[in-house]
């Protein structure tokens, strides 16, 4: 029997953030700051979500000239479905999905 592994609290927090702003592109530093998740934890989560087809990526020019292009992320349609179920499940089981820093303030 194959058992699906429950997403970590950080994965749920990242998914919840994307869900709250459906369609909006986020960059890594913004997500890291808002959720207080370090880059070493955040990027493996983003990479995993992308590998599973839940996240799409694009490059965009930095607002400051001369700076390198930034990598942006948002949920795909299947990612939105998956995240909605995962976050709702976690909330129903009272697993405590971490809120954004603004939400906690």
């Amino acid at each position: 029997m194959v058992m699906a592994r429950r997403p970590s609290s950080q994965t749920l927090a990242v998914s919840a953030l994307f869900l709250e702003s459906t369609g909006q592109w986020h960059h890594g530093y913004d997500i890291s700051k808002r959720l207080r998740i370090p880059s070493g934890t955040l990027y493996p989560i983003l990479m995993r979500l992308s590998d599973r087809g839940h996240l799409e990526t694009r490059w965009t020019e930095s607002e400051t000239p001369g700076r390198p292009a930034r990598h942006m992320y948002r949920l795909t349609a299947t990612g939105r479905d998956w995240a909605a179920v995962a976050v709702a499940d976690a909330r129903r089981q009272n697993l405590g999905v971490r809120q954004t820093a603004e939400g906690m303030a």
Binding site: H27, G28, Y29, S32, P38, S39, G40, T41, L42, Y43, P44, L46, M47, T57, W59, S62, T64, R67, P68, A69, R70, H71
Partner: protein
């Protein structure tokens, strides 16, 4: 800092370079030195994770097995060096050293997929070798443990005890990893 970023980017496995580039581009947007350093440390962590994932498929047990195999290989090289540079070292030391080097090296090569072209014989050899290692290492572990309970000449012998433990532990981990993989790969009987 930018040289370090560039080095980290080059260290990323090719498949993950986009992510590495994206991660390091964010550093330019961070104004606080402490935060930049933490971000860079995180980037180092991502590089290590990416390599582990690339080599071992992100499997925890395979990571444990790779660590144990590396320790055994290193211990084998140490004992071989000891045998070469010291006089009157009993020949059993070089036999154990070669055993550890072969056990650790072969398992690492298998984990890294270097022996794929010799399948299924490479897997059979691994399972046979690790089973023998588990039996011999286990017996030697028990025997050297019992000997240390009441040492005949009053000297405790920890060397054979440690080597036997290393051989048996790595063999056990390899059998857990590879017999588990084989079970998972076997076809599911239809209902």
């Amino acid at each position: 800092m930018s040289r370090l970023s560039r080095a980290l980017y080059l260290l990323m496995p090719a498949r993950s370079r986009d992510w590495g580039q994206g991660l390091l581009a964010e550093m330019e947007e961070i104004n606080d030195a402490g935060e930049s350093t933490r971000w860079l440390l995180g980037a180092g962590q991502v590089v290590l994770r990416s390599w582990f994932k690339k080599i071992l498929g992100g499997d925890l047990m395979k990571t444990v097995l790779a660590t144990l195999s590396t320790i055994n290989g290193a211990m084998g090289l140490f004992l071989a060096g000891l045998y070469v540079v010291t006089d009157n070292t009993p020949p059993i030391v070089i036999i154990l050293a070669l055993g550890l080097i072969i056990q650790g090296g072969y398992t690492l090569a298998h984990l890294m997929g270097r022996l794929e072209r010799f399948q299924p014989w490479s897997m059979r050899a691994l399972l046979f070798g690790e089973t023998v290692a588990l039996v011999i290492g286990g017996l030697a572990f028990v025997a050297s443990g019992l000997r240390n309970v009441a040492p005949p000449n009053g000297d405790y012998e920890y060397g054979p005890f440690v080597v036997a433990a290393l051989i048996a532990t790595q063999a056990l981990a390899a059998l857990v990893v590879y017999t588990n993989v084989n079970i998972r790969r076997s076809p599911t009987p239809s209902a």
